[in-house]
Symmetry: D3
Subunit: 154 residues, 6 copies
């Protein structure tokens, strides 16, 4: 199982580090009695023409790809892999976007994820991190300054 | 002649690899009887202060730059190059954006490009690739998941 | 004092190089009689989990961080630094966004920045650069072409 | 457990991809009855000042570092981690350098590694790959040409 | 035809930019009456597991690879390409290493390369560049200083 | 004044971070009564064709380059800058290589550098760091293991 965009953390889209996400997945699987799995963080490379080779080089051998993402499906198909759809349930609610929205809004989200995920988020103080990331200081962003940079970094 | 953003492919903006674009251009020029040309793929470096040096180091010597892009014109002018405008004809229709839109919509686009481009797109199954890239699975994006990344990569 | 996004220049958000921004800051401080300061350009690395280490490695030792940016505050707090707010005055007007807007619009902006900044901008012909960056050629962008790249680079 | 230099493969020092190494380790551990482990490929970043943060962000939380490498020990100590030595047995023979040397020389190496490693190397045709990497064409390297590059890439 | 290590120049191994090398090759081929060729600069990526995809994405479609380099041959074979040896003549003399050595030593090298290469080297003042790169100031390297960097950059 | 190879630290060649080196230089200059100076850390980019633009973009405007390094001199000359030699005194002893050698060997080095450098090295416990970096565990490097990476990272 790949953890995508592994280089990101502390953003609204990817609030948790790859290591924290690794822990959420592995504990959840172990709680369910699953033992034989491989989890691999995959950093983005932003070049789709080499992306399949990139993934292949980081993960143990595999034959079938499960994905519902059109681009992922297209790229692995072009490379000759068998691609299957993964089943999904009630995607309006069981979605990362919805869960992250609830975390930031202080609404209940515990029921939507495995118990191990709740534990990990609490251990790393994840709710407070998400609220901090979404907060805005009253007088604007500090880097909004004519002589300092105002790019994507904090 | 430079092929910009050469590292990209399989996106809605840059659906084709640099090699595929190279083939489209070189075949079209040869069909028109042009023989003495140089085509050079140029990867982005996202640092405009060194961008001119970057381009200069990858292409054979040149004296004049043809471009209608204000930033390109500005950067080459600051570096002391002569910059000229390139003539354009009916830009509403003969535009990459319009042609890619037609490809995805299944509308006719063959008349807007040289015959060699039509051939290459067919050889690489380009229309199907574009439709795949623009399609969306009914139940949402697969990476929209609290424990997987949800960044820019597929 | 860090100069963020130091790799950027010639964009509407970061029109000036890190070296030009360095000069604006150092001259302004010297005009005010400040002598003991350190200015350090910091390039983005787009990975918040290592961002604090990245900054720490480029600047002389420090104990306290002054910032009003929630993410900056969060990251340095997680790393154990003391974080304080920096005072701000009339942020509607004394803001980089507003000053850059005025430069492009040809409105008066000299009163909003230290005298040394006005001098540096004039020396590097900064107003003309900003107007060039914001201008658009009448018939569209030159890279909007089916066989050339259309990414972020000029 | 981290897999270092995860970006490398097909070199004499790192002949196997991170995914292949992942498989060797996970199968060996499972054969020994170990179930609760985490394996994480770590790509090099070549900046020691941010290296600890880099590792920390990719792996699940940990308190103790086991390493005999002086630099690894130094970096984690500076960052406040507890560092312990890992026991080693007969390092003249149970060493990667020795095992890779034997593979290339066609000497026996199976007894020096877990059975699962032997299996994986056979499945991926690893011995032939190593012999190919170490072979030299009789008439020299093909890139040794005045008008082609002669850098590190093949 | 690929120009490898395209990012390098001004080193003893790769004294010329990719653009200068492009010009040497294209002029030589045109002088010999060859018209239908493609030259593509390829920057190193230092990750052999994705190197074939990288090359494939930058060059027009091809079926056969000509190379005498064991690693190049191995990588393209693993990826399913047909690989053939390229003929070589008197490699002791017609070698880039020998020609660069002669340039630096001020010995005769013109007879070993096509006439177009001699012209390009003269146009870009290449002999003087090579002698400068190989010279050493009498009192040592300036960056050999306890408080300045002493890495690979000049 | 540029601090080269600013991304490195904790190596035998570049034991100190760019920030630590910044502090050594700035304190030494202030001790000598120098006030109007600019210190700029410059990270390597390993592409000499764009290196001058890279440096120019990070430092305040300058007209003259002082360097005894042949490559630095060549690159700035090609770019049209005036290049002058910097005076050097007794390079056998006042050399970074010699001073780092003495630090590791536990020999006296304090007399060879400004007093401020001695202070900074003591504050950051620099001698112990250097001895740690140069030490070797008795039984070899820990990463020398068939299933772990054995690249350049610790």
């Amino acid at each position: 199982m790949g953890i995508g965009s592994a280089q990101y953390s502390h953003t609204l889209e990817n609030p948790f580090t790859a290591g924290e996400r690794y822990l959420m997945i592995s504990r959840s699987l172990r709680d369910d009695g699953v033992r034989d799995f491989s989890i691999v963080p995959i950093v983005d490379i932003n070049r789709y023409a080499v992306w399949v080779s990139h993934v292949v080089s980081f993960v143990p051998t595999f034959q079938v790809v499960y994905s519902n993402n059109p681009l992922t499906r297209r790229l692995f198909s072009e490379a000759g892999f068998e691609v299957r759809a993964s089943p999904m349930f009630n995607r309006e609610i069981y979605s990362g976007t919805e869960i992250r929205r609830r975390m930031m809004a202080g609404e209940s989200w515990n029921d939507l994820v495995p118990k191990a995920v709740v534990e990990v988020v609490h251990e790393i103080d994840g709710e407070e991190r998400m609220r901090d990331l979404s907060s805005h200081s009253p007088s604007g962003r500090s880097e909004d300054d004519p002589v300092e940079g105002s790019g994507e970094e904090p």
